[in-house]
């Protein structure tokens, strides 16, 4: 073979598994040698990282089934907390619409008629923190009660209508303290005998959502730990398979960061694959659930439907997965690199 390599052969020089790294400026052998300049160091650094990426990709590609299942396991672990979190967000959205329907009922004096009731509505609408106010007259109230209670005939026997007129106030926002303040303010209005605010169900829903949040947080911690173990174990196996190569690399002058780099990129690639799979699983899963949810909500006269995976959440999932893969690999390499001293 001649000393001058043909272009075709030279192209093949970046071999499989090659990961060049910048060379520390060495002692000059003669006065004409200025050592590596910045641009050549930068080029070497870029080439080193590029080669590490392609080497990691190539190694994952060489074991497609193993890589696929590793990514899938990670994806399932990622999609569980993320899926629950998205479901909770949907419930919060649903709860929010109910909350907006939270109302304060003002029971008026029995002698308050239609005119006083409407005047009160006008006054209440002018208050801050009020979204809507509606007057229900004594007659309307009785009619509704007769219909809902099934005591129509019995109620007709009463000498007079016992039900007061009611003003139903819809607040602008659901803040317990603000609502209580508004209730007190409304209770002091003329002709108002009692102002009733029922927030028990709102508080129960908030408590359930808080519990759900905590559950998701705990599950996330648990599954993140599991993910780190999965990626760590996978990278450990890769390290074991390349033990001789690593020992040789260290003997011919490879630094720890040079040895570490392809494994870190491999972890990041596993994370990326897992993130993509998890996004897909969530998008498919929510879409699949949505048919049943819209059917159920339709029965309750609601048009509520599950939202999909927002792009921002999907991107966060992807970024988080890549970071987890990278961190898991870093921990695994850090733990095992000490054992990889040349023997």
């Amino acid at each position: 073979m001649s000393a001058t390599r043909s272009p075709k052969v030279a192209d093949r020089v970046a071999p499989k598994g090659s990961e060049p790294q910048p060379q520390r400026p060495r002692k000059r052998r003669n006065d004409d040698d200025d050592g590596p300049d910045f641009s050549s160091l930068l080029r070497a650094w870029i080439e080193s990282h590029r080669a590490s990426w392609t080497d990691s990709l190539r190694r994952l590609g060489k074991q497609p089934i193993g890589s696929f299942f590793t990514c899938l396991v990670m994806a399932v672990a990622l999609s569980l907390p993320m899926g629950l979190s998205l479901l909770l967000k949907n419930v919060e959205r649903l709860g929010g619409s109910w909350q907006r329907a939270a109302q304060i009922s003002l029971y008026l004096d029995l002698d308050a008629g239609e005119r006083e009731g409407q005047a009160l509505v006008t006054q209440i609408k002018g208050l801050s923190g009020v979204a809507q106010a509606e007057f229900v007259s004594r007659e309307q109230a009785l009619g509704e009660f007769q219909q809902q209670s099934g005591l129509g005939e019995a109620l007709k026997e009463l000498p007079e209508n016992p039900l007061p007129g009611v003003v139903v106030v819809t607040p602008l926002e659901i803040d317990k303290a603000a609502l209580e303040s508004l209730r007190q303010q409304l209770a002091e209005l003329p002709k108002v005998q009692q102002a009733q605010l029922d927030l028990v169900w709102v508080e129960r829903l908030a408590a359930i959502l808080k519990l759900g949040d905590r559950f998701v947080f705990g599950l996330t911690l648990l599954l993140v730990s599991a993910l780190l173990l999965v990626i760590g174990n996978t990278i450990r196996l890769h390290i074991e398979n390349r033990r001789i190569e690593i020992e040789v690399i260290k003997l011919v002058g490879g630094t720890d960061s040079y040895v570490r780099r392809p494994f870190l990129y491999m972890g990041a690639l596993y994370g990326f694959g897992a993130g993509i799979f998890a996004w897909g699983i969530l998008a498919f899963g929510l879409d699949w659930l949505n048919d049943a949810v819209t059917g159920l909500s339709g029965l309750y006269g609601s048009d509520f439907a599950l939202g999909g995976v927002p792009v921002a959440d999907g991107l966060s999932l992807l970024l988080g997965a890549v970071l987890l893969g990278y961190i898991g690999a870093w921990i695994a390499v850090w733990r095992h690199l000490r054992e990889l001293a040349p023997r």
């Binding site: 790294q21 060379q23 003997l251 490879g254 040079y258």
Partner: protein, 223 residues
Amino acid sequence: MIRFEQVAKRYPNGHVGLHELSFRVRRGEFLFVTGHSGAGKSTLLRLLLAMERPTSGKLLLAGQDLGQITNAQIPFLRRQIGVVFQNHQLLFDRTVFNNIALPLQILGLSKPEIAKKVDSALERVALADKAELYPGDLSTGQQQRVGIARAIVHQPALLLADEPTGNLDPRLAAEIMGVFEDINRLGTSVLIASHDLALIARMRHRMLTLQRGRLIGDGEAGQ
């Protein structure tokens, strides 16, 4: 090039690898280190590669004190050294070319530079036509020459070889030694650990003789 000053190596289990060894190796010198198994040849090489540190004494390599060297400096020290192993330590999933290119890739050389230097190294070990093959396709002697090519491709100041002819027949062993002499003539210091006294005697280079970690002889081989 190399200076051992009362260098001793004791292991935690009480075994003494080297007893206060002192000698010097000049730049460009060709040197054998010989002795029976357990004499301390491998310990000496491991100290020079900073795989181990001396327990006491001073070991200087190209002016650098290997007793004081930091872990971060070790890779850069090793880039000045070429190593040949008895068992070749080749990567069997890489071609001959890529095995030899490894130290250059670590140095971050450009592709054309790597191609040029690997070609040159292959020429020197007479394997120019084997670049595309895998180590498994080669004979033991050819594999050893690939190992030598990898050790010299980055033009190290010092070449260390640990029993490089241990698995070779006498004809191949002599051929490999010839390759080392060629490399030495180009200015590289060569230190070979070997117990093949017959082969060493024919080559008439300086020879250090170790016995149970002590230096018991320092003179020209064959004398």
